[in-house]
Amino acid sequence: MLRRASHRSPKLISRPGPFRWAALAGAAVTALTATSLALGSFSSGATGGPMTVSSKRIFPGSRSTFPGDLRDASSGSAANSSDPLDYDDARPAVTGAWAAAFSATRFYQLDFNSPRPAGVPASSVNFNIKYASKGGGGSGNACIYKIEVRRASDDSLLGTLDHSSAPLCSTGTTYRVVNEDISSLVTTTDLANDLRIKIFGYETGAKAWNIEYATVTGTSYSSWTLFEKSTTDQSTGTATTTPWAIATAETTGTATTSYTSASTWPSAATTTKYLQVTFDHPDLPAGAVVQSVTLKDIWRPISAVTNGGTLCNYFEVYNGATLVETHGGNTQATAQSCNNTNVSWQTDNVTLSLVDTVAEANSMTIKFYYWVAPTCGGGGNPACVKSVTDQVQATFAYYLN
C-alpha cells in the first residue's frame, strides 16, 4: 500500500476528497452553532413614554430700556423734551453741514437700545428715517448715498444698502420717508440688540439735514421699535457723539449726557410741576408673563442746596391716564428720596409691584414731582434749584410660554 501510494501524482495527493469536504463543512456548522448558543440569552423590555417636552418661547429674563418720551413741566407747563430722533413730532434732530457730494468720511451714525429678549428670530426688520434739507440760503436736497448696517459692539459690517446709483434725496426741505428692509441682515434679536446704522449722505447745497425720526422696527412674536441711545454726527467730517440724555448713567452731569430741568423746582410739591417719562416701547409680546418691573432713577440738584434745604421727589406710575401706584409722599419725611448735594448722585431703585401686566408694562408713564424742602427762595432760605437727571431706566422681567 505504501509503495502504491508513492506512485500517486502530487496533485492527486493534495486534493481533498469528498469526506474531507464534508468534515470541514460539519466543523464549520458546529462552530457557528456553538457560537450562537453562547451569545444567546433571554431578555425582556418595558417601555415608557413618549414624553414630549417643550421649552418656553422666551426664557425668563430681565430686559432694560429707557424712555424716549420726556415732558418737562417744571415750569408748570409741560414741554416736549423727548428724544428728537424717536418721534414724528416736528422736533427734528439737526445735523451739521454736509458736503455737496458723497464723502466716505461724512456720515451720521446711530446706535440703538437693546430691549429685546435675546435669541429670538426677528422678521420684518426695517430702518425708518424721515429727513430733509434743513434749508437756508443755498440749500439743496438731503441725499442718502448708502446705509451701512453694523454691529455696535465691534463695528463689524452686517451689510450695505447701496444707493450710490440713485441716491435717496429729499426735495429741498420737504421730508422724505425711507423704510429700508434690513430683515436679511438683522435676523435675530441678538443682532437687533447690538445694532448700529451708519448713513452716508450729502446735501447738494452743502447744508445741514433735519432728521425727524430714525428708528428700527421689527417683529419677534410681536412688533417692536428700537430707539437710538447715541448718535455720532460726522456730517461735517468731524465726529460729535451725543447720547440720549437719560439713556445711560455717565454720572458726569454734563449737559449732553444728562437732562437738566427747564425751571427750578418750587418749595412745595405740586401736581402741576413734574418731569414725566413714558416707556412706550418695552414691547413685551402679548401673552408674556410679567414677573417684576423695576425703575432706576439717577439724579441730583444742579447745585448744592444750602441752608439746611434739600431737593426731594416722589413719583407716580401711570398706565396711560390711570394711576397704578405712587412711591413716596410730598413731605421731606415721606419723600421717595432727597439729595442736597450736586456732587453725589442719588440712585433710586424701586420695584413697581403693581405693574404686572403686559398692557401696564407697555405703556408705563412716570411722573416725578420735585420740590425743595423745607422751603426755598427768600431771605435765609436755600435757593430753589433745578434737577439733573442722569438716567431713567426700567427693567422688565418676563417670559413667554
Binding site: F42, A46, G48, P50, M51, T52, V53, S54, S55, V120
Partner: protein
Amino acid sequence: MRRKLLHARKLLLSIAALGAAASIAGLGTFATFTTSTSASHTIASGTLSLTAPFSRLGTGASPIAPGDTMQRAIDLSYSGSISLGSATLTTNATSSSLLDSDATNGLQIAIDKCSAAWTESGPPYTYTCGGSTSTVLSSRAVIGSNIALSNLTLTAGATDHLRVTVTFPSGAGNTLQNQSSTVNYTFTGNQRAGTDQ
C-alpha cells in the same frame, strides 16, 4: 484508468464496512441474556419578563425653562421565573430638537430607586420616598443606548420603584428657547448568568 481503480477500491471498502456493521447488529439481536435500566427527567426553560405596571413617563412638560425639573415615577416588575442579571436603558427621540441633541445644555436624566413605592403628589409630579433611596443612574444626557443601570433588585417576582428626574440645565442658553422633543424610554432586562441546575 488509475482513477477508476481508486473508485472501485473505495466501493469495495464501503461494502465491507457495511457488512461488518450488519454482522455486529445481528449478533446483538440473537443474544439470550439482556439487562437494561432507564431514567428520565423533565427540563423546562424558565421565563424572563420585565414589565412596567406603573409609569408616568408618558407625561410631558410644556413649556419649560432652564432650571426646571420633571419627576416621573415608573415601576419595573420582574414577573418571570428567572431573575435578571442586568438591566439597561435606551432612550431615543422620535421628535428631536436641541433639547435632546445638545448633550451639555439639553435635557439631563437621572434615576433613583426607593425601597418602597414612591409617594406621589401633583401634577406637576413630585415624589418622596418613605424608605431608603439609591442611585440607579447618575445624571447624564437624556439620549443614550444601553445605558447600564445600577442598584436594581432584578429578582424574579420583585418590583423596583424608580423615579426618573429629567432636568433642563440652568445654564441652557437662549438657543434652547422654543424647542420641542419627544423622548421614548426602553428598559431592557437581561437574564442572569447560567448556573448549575
